[in-house]
């Protein structure tokens, strides 16, 4: 059986990749995709720890995270469409009218 640490390190790598994406990419859709990678890294941690504790709670929290991710994707993409309609670009640097 694979040691728990392997799963934790894998999810740490995935989380760091997601963070890098949010920091580096200048495209709203790719940034949202990077957030999904981070959510999945956390899901993997929950399931792995739940498995090694012998409880079902990890999978249930994962279920809730998926639901929240679906809601987040729906609202986030609606915002993206609405922003694109106003500025004709997906570059987050273009949406700065609230800055001063």
């Amino acid at each position: 059986m694979i040691p728990l640490n392997h799963y934790l390190i894998l999810s740490a790598i995935l989380f760091a990749i997601g963070t890098t994406g949010v920091f580096l990419r200048r495209n709203l859709i790719t940034m949202l995709l990077s957030v999904e990678i981070m959510l999945n890294a956390v899901n993997l941690t929950f399931v792995a720890v739940g498995r090694y504790l012998g409880t079902v709670d990890g999978q249930i929290i994962t279920f809730f995270v998926m639901t929240v991710a679906a809601a987040e994707a729906a609202v986030g993409l609606a915002l993206v469409i609405s922003l694109f309609r106003h500025r004709e670009t997906l570059n987050p640097d273009a949406f700065s009218s609230l800055k001063w």
Partner: protein
Amino acid sequence: MDASAIAFYIFAAITVVASLGVVGQRNPMYSVMLLITSFGALAGLYVLLDAPFTAVTQIIIYAGAIMVLFLFVVMLLNVPREEPAPSGVLAALGPRGMQAATVLSLVLGLEIVWALSKVNRGWFAQDAAATSVSSVTLIGTTLFTRHAFAFEATSILILVAMVGAVVIARRER
């Protein structure tokens, strides 16, 4: 090395490479496709963790519903690629802020890997020999008894998100 270890490393490699592709890819369409690949490999990892229910929901909800939503928006907006970055690895990182972000996220990654690799296996009393809990019946019973309130709250959240998405994306006249 037994079969499950080999499967773990294969799935882990697919997930990491596909996720790197998502971040490195300039065309959002390819990014979404690579992310679906990554989610498929993650579902394989869930199967290895004796969590077939989570694996199936991963495929149906994530790869099936959420990613199709993303794909739909990518096609709807029809922006094939973001503005090209200047060539060269360092130049591609753009202004100094981007370089700082790269360094910071690398440091963050090393930090989490270091912290998680120190997790003491003694904390998990039943390690390796833990009884496998893959029963969907057990998940359902726990979900609708101990977590019933959270479940109902989730349904309200979904309703609010749905109404919000329709209102936000509607074209005002």
